[in-house]
């Protein structure tokens, strides 16, 4: 594997951006990696901006900053516009319910993950969108076994295990191969 794998997630408060980073980070710890996960947020409990930056490496991690994400999960238009330029080799996974305008000038891969709508369709409410996004991320994340990620979801989110398993599967199977 390459020296470090970088994952960036950003959106509003309340979408589970921090939890998303935490779940990936915990899965990486379980697989024996060194991990850093920075969260930055405004003062609001909900509605403010939130960003998680996860770095996974076999070696001790110096800079915990994601400067060139392998995966960028964009959960708001503001987040998309703020960080899209960081992605060169990686992929942007965006939720079209929030990211309503795509920059076609970008050279990196960009794929929609309609996590919010799929959650409403399948479960009647948007709360499982985060797990659907995690499924999609897991599909594109070479370094972690999908079962370890799922295990972490079930560990970090103590309730609704059946729904979360299904949601994870929905996100994971959005892409054939790696899309």
């Amino acid at each position: 594997m390459k020296v470090r794998t970088e994952i960036l997630a950003s959106g509003f408060g309340g979408q589970g951006v921090v939890r998303l980073g935490q779940i990936i980070g915990e899965a990486a710890v379980k697989e024996g990696y060194r991990v850093t996960m920075l969260k930055s947020h405004g003062t609001e409990m909900r509605g403010g901006y939130v960003r998680s930056q996860v770095v996974i490496s076999k070696e001790p991690i110096d800079s915990p900053i994601v400067e060139n994400p392998d995966i960028f999960a964009a959960l708001s238009l503001a987040a998309y516009n703020s960080f899209k330029h960081l992605v060169t080799q990686g992929i942007i996974l965006y939720d079209p319910a929030f990211v309503v305008e795509i920059d076609d000038a970008l050279t990196c891969r960009q794929r929609p993950v309609p996590a919010k709508d799929l959650s409403v369709q399948n479960f009647g409410r948007p709360v499982f969108a985060n797990t659907i996004m995690l499924g999609a991320i897991s599909r594109h994340l070479d370094v972690l076994d999908r079962d370890t990620v799922l295990e972490s979801i079930l560990h970090v989110i103590p309730r609704f295990h059946e729904e979360n398993k299904r949601a994870f599967e929905i996100g994971y199977s959005l892409f054939n191969g790696k899309g």
Partner: protein, 391 residues
């Protein structure tokens, strides 16, 4: 050893408990609230006491009371709370009361930006109270794992020097998650280099000897012993007095007990790529040093002869690193430049000292390498961030 994905706040709490901390008083503030939260849960499990103060000033006073009662005590806050310690901090210095104080820096001044890292209290930790005539011990970790070790070390130094020790962290350390190993027994603690100094009790009659000696047990009340611990000058026998000669003796003790025993903590620094006399030395502390390390390693691959010096022991300031004439670049999480002033002073006139600052966010590796290149070529540095040129 148990591994977790956890925050620096968790690591600091566990470090404190491993070091024997059994009393915590605090007041919630981002990004250190989780320490208070974790302490309120963990301390009762190990027979300790958690109290919430009505504000930070009260919290540190509570810690003083607990330390005088024989407890290893700690509080934690961020910049806006740290300034409220001014009064009790001075009392603890004057009466030589061991305490550990955690300051997780966010962006100031005043309430500033809560969820973002800052380094605005470099000088405040040197002068946390009024009056002068004292030295402070300040240690700055750069990761959650190291924050655990430094917290343990802070308790060790606080006991041996009988003084409050500040651990200066920042929001990225305390709020950020990392893989953290927590030792589960004494062997594992030794393996991780943790030093523990037990709380001892001063039985008198020399409570405040007019010397630079350390390892004198602190004043503990009860146990058929004790001394007056007021905000006046203590006499050797533990009374308080307002008298010139007694004051001078005591003030000298407060300064020189620390200055003359710096060997106990001045090994706390990290050097990378410094063996071949680099053309530029990049100086930093706290989380910016992690980006500096990555940038310096990358710059070396590109043929730039740069080295990295990270300070962990901030105060008393380690002048010895700056004796040689050189080019220095100081990287800080503020725009006014604080550490850089001290480096300028210590480095002397022959050296060239440059500064680059960020506010609320770490510098990027690419930005830093660009700055290294400019300095090495003798080009001026552009200001980053807001366009301040016209100000």
């Amino acid at each position: 050893m148990k591994r977790y994905l956890e925050t620096g706040n968790f690591a600091i709490t566990e470090g404190a408990i491993l070091a024997g901390c059994r009393f915590f008083a605090g007041y919630p503030i981002t990004p250190a609230t989780e320490i208070a939260e974790a302490m309120s849960r963990r301390l009762p499990q190990v027979g300790g006491i958690y109290l919430q103060g009505e504000d930070e000033c009260a919290a540190l006073h509570l810690c003083i009371g607990a330390s005088l009662g024989g407890y290893k005590a700690m509080t934690a806050t961020s910049g806006p709370g740290y300034i409220l310690y001014a009064d009790p901090y001075g009392w603890a210095i004057g009466c030589e009361i061991p305490l550990v104080i955690l300051n997780s820096g966010r962006v100031g001044p005043v309430s500033g930006i809560t969820g973002a890292p800052g380094q605005g209290e470099f000088y405040l930790t040197r002068y946390p109270t009024q009056g002068g005539n004292y030295e402070t011990i300040v240690l700055a970790p750069n990761s959650a794992q190291e924050a655990m070790a430094i917290t343990v070390e802070a308790f060790y130094l606080a006991e041996r020097f009988r003084t409050p020790v500040t651990v200066l962290a920042d929001q990225l350390i305390t709020d950020g998650f990392e893989d953290i190993s927590v030792p589960e027994n004494e062997d594992e603690m030794k393996e991780m280099g943790f030093r523990i100094w037990p709380r001892k009790i001063n039985r008198g009659p020399n409570f405040y000897p007019p010397t630079d000696e350390i390892d004198i047990p602190p004043v503990v009340l009860g146990h058929n012993t004790g001394a007056l611990c007021s905000d006046w000058t203590p006499t050797e026998e533990g009374y308080d007095i307002e008298e010139v000669e007694a004051h001078h003796k005591h003030a000298h003790r407060l300064i020189y007990k620390i200055r003359n025993h710096r060997d106990l903590f001045n090994h706390l620094y990290e050097k990378k790529f410094m063996d071949d006399d680099p053309d530029l030395i990049v100086v930093s502390y706290g989380t910016p040093s992690r980006v500096v390390n990555t940038a310096v390693a990358k710059a070396r691959q590109e043929g730039l002869k740069v080295g990295a010096l990270r300070l962990i022991n901030l105060w008393p300031f380690p002048d010895e690193h700056f004796q040689k004439r050189n080019k220095y670049l100081v990287v800080e999480l503020n725009w006014d430049g604080q550490l850089v002033r001290e480096v300028q002073r210590a480095a002397g006139k022959d050296s060239e000292v440059h500064f680059t600052g960020c506010c609320g966010e770490l510098p990027t590796v690419n930005d830093l390498i660009e700055i290294f290149q400019k300095i090495l070529k003798g080009q001026p540095l552009a200001r980053k961030g807001w366009q301040l040129e016209e100000w």
